[in-house]
């Protein structure tokens, strides 16, 4: 009954997820906090817009296309990161010392450099080589960064499958690649999905960094509004509430998905 709650504590090792807290029904406090935060955010937005339409209503009208860009960057980056993470994660467990070394180096280097610096770097460095639009380079930069985290998730997910599964598949004459594809990965995915959900929320939040590159995401739109109207305080209030609302909804959806998943699988 209490097991679920202590899920993140083992061998004295504590891991606190990256992104927003994904509310589990087991954690009463957080579950209630989710509801309070969610309805609180909606309530506050409504109140502000109705009680002080100037500037709040104008802000609200100014933001929507930014939200779309935020979503676009997030979704595209996470998909690309997944692909990168899959290959790098497989590389991290490869017996080939070159591939293994390269993947490990990628993970180590990328995780050692701030995302913002990577964004600048890839944006400008990429600009020297090929002419990619701002959003595309932002997506690529985010994906390269998150790919390193995904790689670790993929690696851990694969390593969580008992090695007897691989042996049984190989004994039947499957090649290593076939065994991976038909036996290991399908099982690993179940373990991988929850932390990926977590990364998804984290990436959504970090996507705000692309505003630095003048990609017109939610935060950028807010900054544009503020720089023209000087309503910094009001604008950032609204932007923060929008992000909060989005991550709350997202993490709720993820937790529902996870529940479904754990019910379905037997």
């Amino acid at each position: 009954m209490d097991l679920e709650k202590n899920k993140t504590i083992k061998d004295g090792a504590i891991n606190v997820g990256d992104g927003a807290a994904i509310p589990s029904k087991q954690d009463r406090g957080l579950f209630n906090a989710w509801r309070v935060a969610f309805f609180g955010a909606i309530g506050t937005i409504l109140y502000l817009v109705i009680a002080k339409p100037d500037p709040y209503l104008s802000i609200l009208k100014f933001l929507p296309d930014g939200i779309l860009v935020t979503f676009q960057v997030t979704v595209e980056a996470i998909l690309l990161a997944l692909v990168i993470g899959l290959f790098a994660g497989l590389g991290r467990i490869s017996r080939n010392p070159f591939i293994n070394g390269l993947s490990s180096l990628y993970v180590e280097v990328i995780r050692g450099i701030p995302l913002l610096v990577q964004l600048f770097y890839i944006y400008f460095a990429l600009g020297r080589i090929v002419n990619v639009p701002a959003i595309a380079s932002a997506v690529i930069a985010m994906a390269i960064c998150y790919g390193a985290y995904m790689a670790e998730i993929v690696r851990a997910g694969i390593e969580s499958i008992p090695k007897g599964q691989m042996e049984a598949a190989r004994s039947l004459g499957l090649s290593h690649a076939q065994a991976m594809r038909h036996v290991i990965l399908p099982q690993a995915i179940k373990n991988i999905l929850p932390p990926i959900g977590n990364e998804f929320v984290a990436l959504l939040k970090d996507s705000s960094l692309v505003s630095i590159l003048a990609v017109s995401d939610l935060l950028r739109r807010g900054r544009e509004f503020a720089s023209e109207s000087f309503n910094y305080f009001e604008t950032y209030t609204m932007v923060a509430l929008m992000y909060l609302l989005i991550t709350l909804i997202l993490s709720k959806l993820i937790s529902i998905m996870e529940e479904r998943l754990s019910v379905k699988s037997r």
């Binding site: 400008f124 600009g127 020297r128 002419n131 003048a214 509004f225 023209e228 000087f230």
Partner: protein
């Protein structure tokens, strides 16, 4: 190239009112926009403005992300080494904006204090010339003004039209800020091009001359900057 109207992508950091800024409809507008639309009419070019962060705007130009930068870029010798400029289209100076309560009459008066400017602008370079004054650089000039309103810095240096806009026209700041001094730096804004785009450069120059000849620039000053 045989066509009458070519479309040109123009980068502009639209956080520089009243020269370039974003209006409520998320369209770029301002003095420079009107001016170059007029230039385009004369030269048979269609300019498409693209909002771009100032920091890195020249890196993007060099990388070919856009064909031209119109973003209140002052023509300097150092910049000329890495890019080409059109004829000047606007004369500007630098202005020091301070709180009304301040007694400073020049940047040098702010020794030991902090003065803000947008990163990589001639305003920032101007502050740097004063030993003992701490320069704080911002991504957008508006953030510098906001920081001054919060009391974190003691002055902001930026181009005169922008200073006039912030200190004298914005309701929020009208009662707080004052232009301490206009520094006649005799600097001129030009459109910036990657090195070697002679053909485009000449077309634009012709357009600028035509617009000036028609006196459109005077009208635009009245529209966007107003009388002193």
């Amino acid at each position: 190239k045989q066509e009458k109207v070519t479309t040109i992508t123009v980068a502009s950091d639209a956080t520089w009112p009243p020269m370039e800024m974003i209006n409520k409809d998320k369209k770029i507008e301002g003095y420079a926009i009107d001016f170059f639309n007029a230039v385009g009419k004369e030269a048979g070019i269609k300019f498409e403005f693209k909002n771009t962060a100032w920091d890195g705007i020249f890196a993007g130009l060099a990388a070919g992300k856009y064909d031209m930068v119109v973003s209140s870029v002052t023509i300097t010798d150092k910049r000329k080494k890495t890019m080409d400029f059109s004829e000047p289209y606007f004369e500007s100076g630098q202005a020091l904006v301070v709180m009304k309560s301040s007694t400073a009459k020049s940047i040098a008066d702010l020794k030991g204090k902090k003065v803000g400017a947008q990163i990589g602008t001639t305003g920032a370079f101007e502050v740097k010339k004063n030993n003992g004054v701490t320069l704080k650089t911002y991504d957008e000039v508006g953030l510098a003004f906001e920081d001054m309103a919060a009391g974190r810095i003691d002055g902001v240096v930026c181009d005169t039209p922008v200073a006039a806009n912030y200190a004298l026209q914005k309701a929020e700041y009208k009662n707080k800020f004052i232009i301490a001094v206009n520094i006649p730096t005799k600097e001129f804004y030009g459109a910036a091009f990657p090195k070697g785009k002679k053909e485009l450069l000449e077309k634009v120059n012709k357009g600028i001359q035509a617009v000036k000849a028609k006196g459109i620039d005077k009208e635009l000053v009245k529209k966007w900057i107003g009388t002193k």
